[in-house]
C-alpha cells in the first residue's frame, strides 16, 4: 500500500489567450481532475512547485489563488467538513519531487486523502529574454492512497554546493530612465538568469553520482530500473546521462516534443508521456530524477507492485 499517481496533466500555453503562470496551472489542474473524474473539493492539499511568474508576486502563495480559481473548498469553515490547505514550494526543477515527498507522507499519515501538485513557468520579466532556460508550460498531478501498490517508497535530495554559482536566478532592481514611465515609477525589478559554461556537464556528473548512491542505499542495480523519468529534458543532459548510467534508451521517459524545455513542469510532462504510452503502468520500478540549480539532485522510487 502506498501513494499512487492518480492522474497527470501537462500542457503548453497554446490555446490560452493570456498564458499567465496562474492560468497555466489552473488549466492543467482542471484537466487533471477531469482525467481522474474528481471534483476540486476532493483536494485536501495543493502544493504549487512552479517558480517563474509574469508578475513575480511575493504573496500570497500562488497556490491559494489557484485553489480559488479551481473552486476547491471555498466558503466558510464549519466545524467538521473539509477544507484545502495550499502553499508554494520552491526548489527549481526539483520542486515536484520534494512536493511529492511531502504529500506522500501526509497521505500515509491519513491527513490528506487527495493531494495535488501544480506547476507553471512563464517569462518572469527577464532582463534578457534569451536567457530563459524553459518553455512556458503548466502541469498538475493528483496523488492518492492505494492499497494495491507500494507507490512512492523512497526519496532522496542531494546538493553539490561547490557548483552553486553555475546557475543562479533572482530579481534585481533597475532604475528606470525612460521618458514615458508612469508618474511615480522610478524603476522596476527584473529577473536575471545566469547559466555558466559547464553547468550541463556538472549536472550530468552530479545526477549520476546521486543516482548511484540512491540505488546503492536501496540495494538496487541499474538493471532493476524499468523506467527512468529524468529532467531536464534537453539532449545535453539526457544523452550523456543515459550512457554514464548504462541505461537503455527504451527505459527512459522522454517528454513529447511540444513540452520539451518545460521547467518545473518537466517531471509531470515526462510522466504524462509515460502514462499515455502505457509504460508507467507496465514498469515495476520507476525512478524519477531531477537535477537543477544548487546543484540539487532529487530522486524518487515509485513501485507498482506491493513490497
Amino acid at each position: 500500500m502506498g501513494t499512487r499517481i492518480e492522474a497527470v496533466s501537462a500542457l503548453t500555453s497554446r490555446g490560452l489567450r493570456k498564458p499567465t503562470a496562474r492560468r497555466l496551472a489552473e488549466a492543467a489542474a482542471r484537466t487533471c481532475l477531469e482525467h481522474a473524474r474528481r471534483e476540486p473539493g476532493d483536494i485536501d492539499m495543493l502544493i504549487n512547485a512552479g517558480i517563474y511568474r509574469e508578475d513575480n508576486m511575493g504573496e500570497p502563495a500562488l497556490a491559494a489563488l489557484i485553489q480559488e480559481d479551481i473552486g476547491a473548498n471555498l466558503g466558510q469553515p464549519p466545524i467538521g467538513g473539509q477544507g484545502t490547505f495550499s502553499f508554494d514550494l520552491m526548489n527549481g526543477i526539483c520542486g515536484v519531487i520534494n512536493a511529492t515527498q511531502l504529500e506522500a507522507g501526509l497521505l500515509r499519515s491519513g491527513i490528506v486523502r487527495l493531494g495535488a501538485i501544480v506547476t507553471s513557468d512563464v517569462d518572469p520579466n527577464l532582463v534578457d529574454p534569451r536567457s530563459a532556460p524553459f518553455r512556458p508550460a503548466g502541469g498538475a498531478m493528483l496523488l492518492s492512497w492505494d492499497d494495491s501498490i507500494a507507490g512512492f517508497t523512497d526519496f532522496c535530495t542531494e546538493t553539490f554546493p561547490e557548483y552553486e554559482d553555475l546557475f543562479v536566478s533572482g530579481l534585481v532592481w533597475r532604475e528606470r530612465h525612460r521618458l514615458h514611465a508612469p508618474r511615480q515609477a522610478t524603476g522596476q525589478s527584473q529577473m536575471v538568469i545566469d547559466e555558466k559554461p559547464g553547468y550541463h556537464d556538472r549536472l550530468v556528473d552530479c545526477a549520476e553520482e546521486a543516482t548511484r548512491r540512491f540505488l546503492r542505499r536501496l540495494g538496487m542495480g541499474i538493471g532493476e530500473i524499468d523506467l527512468l523519468v529524468p529532467v531536464p529534458s534537453f539532449p545535453d543532459f539526457l544523452d550523456p546521462l543515459k550512457v554514464r548510467l548504462g541505461i537503455p534508451g527504451d527505459r527512459i521517459a522522454y517528454v513529447t516534443e511540444d513540452l520539451e524545455g518545460a521547467y518545473t513542469t518537466g517531471p509531470i510532462a515526462a510522466l504524462q508521456a509515460a502514462v499515455k504510452s502505457g509504460r508507467l503502468g507496465e514498469a515495476r520500478n520507476t525512478v524519477m530524477l531531477a537535477a537543477g540549480a544548487g546543484i540539487t539532485v532529487a530522486l524518487a522510487l515509485y513501485r507498482q507492485t506491493l513490497p
Binding site: 517558480i51 500570497p60 480559488e68 471555498l74 490547505f85 491527513i111 533572482g170
Partner: protein, 369 residues
C-alpha cells in the same frame, strides 16, 4: 510500518497524536536574529511623502521596529537566527536532516532577491548543515508555522528525527515604498507601514519519551479570500509593494478563526482556558483585541495570557510567532508545563494553529544561558 489512515472529519489539515504517527514531536529550540537598526513609527511617518494625518502608533500599538543596516538582508538574518537556534539546542548543525527556508523575502545582497538556488541552500551552507535536504517554502506570513507542520509530519512518521524551519525577513522596504505613496488612512498600503525586519529559526525534533511536545497542529487556506492581500515587486523603489484590504481581511479572520480554533482544541481535548499563552500573528493591537473578544464570545473562554509584542518589533511577517515565543522564553515568563497556542494568519487567507507544551527547553533560555 503499520498504517493508520482514517482522516477524521476536519476542516483543517490536522496533525495530532490521533494521526497515527509513530513518534512524538516537539519544538526543541527557537532562535532569533534581530537587525541592528531601529526605526520609530514617528520617524517612519515623518518620511511619508504626503501629509497623511495617520496616527499610526495609536492605531496599531507599534512604537518602533528593527530594520536592517548595511550588510544585512534576508539571508544574513536567517543564518543568524539559525546559529542562535543552535546555541539554545542540544543539536549540532550536522544533526539537521532537513532545512526549510520559509521567508517571503529572499534577499541576498541589498537589491538581489534570490530565486535559484533556493535560499535554504545558502543557509545550510552558512551554518554547516551541508548534509541536510533543503527546499524553500512560501506561504506568506504563515510560512514558518507551515514549515513546522511539514517537519512535524516527517518526524512523527520517523522519516527524519531533526529538522529546522528558518526565516529571514528583510521586509521593511515595503514600509519605505508605502511611505512614498500613501495619502490617507484608507490606503491599501497602510498595513505595509507596520512591518519590521527579523530572522527566526526553530528546531523540530523527535520528542524524548514522556515529553508532551506538539499536541496538535492544523492548517487551512480560505482561498475565497485569496486576493485580499497581494504583494508585487515595486516600481517606486527596490523591494515590493503590498496592497491589503485590511478591514475585509480582519472581518474574515475574526469570523472564521473561531470554529477552527474550536476544532484544534477539540482535537487536543482541552478548553481555550487551558491555554496559558496564546501567541497570535502580530498585526495590530486593536485587531488582536477584537479577535480575542470574538473567541471569548463564541467559545465561551479565554486563554490565560495573550502575547502582544508589537510595540517594539512591529509585524515581522513570517517570523512574528517565533520572535514572540523566543522573547517570552528569554524573559523566563514561560515555565515547563505551560501550554502555548500559536495562531498564524496570513494572506491567502492562511490560518495555522499549533498547540504545544513547554518542557525543560526553557532551561536553555534566560539567565541560565
Amino acid at each position: 510500518m503499520t498504517e493508520t489512515r482514517s482522516k477524521a472529519d476536519h476542516w483543517l489539515a490536522l496533525e495530532s497524536p490521533n494521526s497515527g504517527g509513530h513518534w512524538g514531536c516537539r519544538i526543541e529550540s527557537v532562535g532569533v536574529k534581530l537587525p541592528t537598526g531601529t526605526l520609530t513609527t514617528r520617524n517612519l511617518m515623518n518620511q511619508a511623502k504626503h501629509r497623511t494625518h495617520i496616527q499610526l502608533e495609536r492605531l496599531t500599538g507599534i512604537h518602533e521596529r528593527h530594520v536592517v543596516g548595511p550588510g544585512e538582508n534576508s539571508f544574513t538574518l536567517a543564518a543568524g537566527a539559525a546559529r542562535d537556534c543552535l546555541t539554545h539546542s542540544q543539536h549540532q548543525a550536522s544533526d539537521i536532516e532537513m532545512l526549510i527556508s520559509t521567508s517571503i523575502t529572499r534577499s541576498k545582497g541589498r537589491s538581489w532577491q534570490s530565486f535559484e538556488p533556493p535560499l535554504s541552500l545558502y543557509v545550510k551552507q552558512a551554518i554547516g548543515a551541508a548534509q541536510a535536504a533543503n527546499f524553500d517554502l512560501s506561504n506568506a506570513c504563515a510560512g514558518m508555522l507551515t514549515g513546522v507542520f511539514v517537519l512535524q509530519d516527517l518526524v512523527t512518521r520517523g522519516e527524519i528525527s531533526c529538522g529546522m524551519a528558518v526565516s529571514g525577513e528583510y521586509i521593511s522596504h515595503l514600509s519605505w515604498n508605502a511611505a512614498k505613496q500613501i495619502r490617507s488612512l484608507f490606503s491599501k498600503q497602510l498595513a505595509s507601514l507596520t512591518l519590521g525586519d527579523a530572522g527566526a529559526a526553530v528546531i523540530v525534533e523527535r520528542a524524548p519519551d514522556g515529553v508532551p511536545g506538539i499536541d496538535v497542529i492544523g492548517f487551512t487556506t480560505l482561498a475565497e479570500h485569496s486576493r485580499l492581500c497581494l504583494a508585487f515587486p515595486s516600481t517606486v523603489g527596490p523591494g515590493a509593494q503590498m496592497y491589503t484590504k485590511s478591514r475585509a481581511l480582519q472581518k474574515v479572520a475574526i469570523e472564521d478563526m473561531a470554529p477552527l480554533v474550536a476544532e484544534v482544541i477539540g482535537e487536543a481535548g482541552i478548553d481555550l482556558a487551558d491555554i496559558d499563552y496564546l501567541i497570535p500573528h502580530q498585526t495590530s493591537a486593536r485587531a488582536i483585541r477584537q479577535g480575542m473578544q470574538e473567541f471569548a464570545r463564541r467559545l465561551g473562554a479565554q486563554p490565560k495570557h495573550v502575547v502582544v509584542n508589537l510595540e517594539e518589533y512591529g509585524n515581522t511577517s513570517s517570523t512574528t510567532l517565533f520572535v514572540a515565543l523566543h522573547k517570552y522564553l528569554e524573559e523566563q515568563r514561560m515555565h515547563a508545563g505551560d501550554r502555548v497556542m500559536l495562531l498564524a494568519l496570513a494572506s491567502g487567507i492562511e490560518i495555522g494553529i499549533a498547540v504545544f507544551t513547554i518542557d525543560e527547553q526553557v532551561d536553555h533560555y534566560g539567565h541560565t544561558h
